[in-house]
Symmetry: C2
Subunit: 218 residues, 2 copies
DNA sequence: CAACAAATCAAACGATGACTTGAATATACC
DNA sequence: GGTATATTCAAGTCATCGTTTGATTTGTTG
């Protein structure tokens, strides 16, 4: 077999492991932070055995790596470019599959009405002191990496924090990515409470994929 | 089913159609230029029926579009970002699959020894008049799009053109992409003939994917 | 050492996909 | 209108993949 065919065979191995909705969801979840098999199973609603199985496929194809710590095994993405890769796929799907457009229209119809902020624009506004940034993901994902200067307020806790937020500035919320609902909910709640709020286009993985600065820890 | 799962289902459709070595080869071939079913079958060594079958899968998943002209049906990539997508896949495969590294080492071992030129570097050198650029792909692929200022000399015809090439300048050859052998061959032949020759890292699709200027026609 | 938890393994089922073959459909040219 | 050409369709075979189930390994804790 020609070397070129052999290479395509290998590239297809990578593509094959992307070719499952369950595995894509696992990858998207891991893009937020390293997670245990159990946590991933819970996040995706799969059985533990099935999750483990799919994670091994991802590991064998080079997309994920595992680390054992005591009883638990933690998986994480092997490469910072994987969110970019998934962004390519979703971008192409969104552009060329009518089905995707329909789903987005039906379930994410608020997407454009909430006037997303671009990443460069966000930096400008933060530098100018006009904007406050909140990360509405769960605490552990925030701790694994977040936009510098962002404050962590998980959506569930947002109502309790409403009083403490400043009214002078605009508030920009971000979450896990373009198909995550958390930031939508947050913006909706904030606007309801009289704040001027917008959401960041895309989420943390996309920010990181552009090799922009990232802070860790609390 | 949740909207998120539905979306992943659709994204997996795109990934599924990438998950076959034959289809990846078809995509890579189409990245050079629009081609007829027959031409694609010949380029990949597949049967026409099988080629047609795979092309339809690519079309259904939004990766390719077809156009009928008389007897023939021409297929082309639906999106300029597809080469980028494939670049992501091969990049990750190359970085994380030992198998790929082995194949590259065994069959493309000259890759680094031929000191590739970067795209920005090439532009500088051409502007300075120090370098001549040749496109060693078949004529029809050259005509479908090529780097501005590049001269088309398919590898087969290189020996005949050797006499006409200037000795003062360095010659940079490019071809279909990082796993195409044409530019290697050309550089080897040129060096044998006493020229100072190098190859462009990657090929035309990668150039185009960066939305750099492209010329068409003879 | 026993009891427990987390993850993996192994077997099995149904479903989906790849490729081949031969027939059928378009379109152009004589 | 008939014939040749390019492509697609349809059916069939074989292999692979996804998921579930229950047992097994590995490491921790009482």
């Amino acid at each position: 077999m020609s070397p070129k065919k052999q290479l395509f065979e290998q590239f297809a191995r990578v593509a094959k492991s992307l070719a499952s909705p369950n595995r894509l969801e696992l990858l998207e979840t891991m893009a937020q932070s390293e997670k245990s098999v159990d946590a991933l199973a819970q996040a995706t609603g799969m059985s533990v055995a099935n999750t483990s199985h799919h994670l091994q496929i991802l590991r064998d194809s080079g997309l994920a790596v595992s680390r054992k710590e005591g009883l638990q095994v933690f998986y994480r993405l092997s490469d910072d470019k994987i969110p970019t890769l998934m962004g390519c796929i979703s971008g192409i799907a969104e552009k060329h599959l009518a089905e995707v457009e329909r789903i987005v229209r039906e379930h994410f119809d608020t997407r454009d009405s909430l006037t997303p902020v671009g990443r460069d624009e966000l930096l400008d506004r933060v530098r100018g002191g006009e904007t406050m940034v909140i990360d509405v993901r769960p605490a552990n994902e925030y701790q694994a990496g977040h936009i510098p200067g962002a404050v962590n307020i998980p959506v569930d806790e947002l109502p309790q924090h409403l009083a403490t937020l400043p009214h002078g500035q605009e508030i920009v919320a971000y979450c896990r990515g373009p198909y995550c609902m958390l930031a939508y909910e947050a913006v909706a709640k904030l606007r309801e409470a009289g704040y001027q709020a917008r959401r960041l286009a895309d989420g943390f993985p996309e920010w990181k994929a552009e090799s922009r600065p990232v802070d860790r820890g609390a």
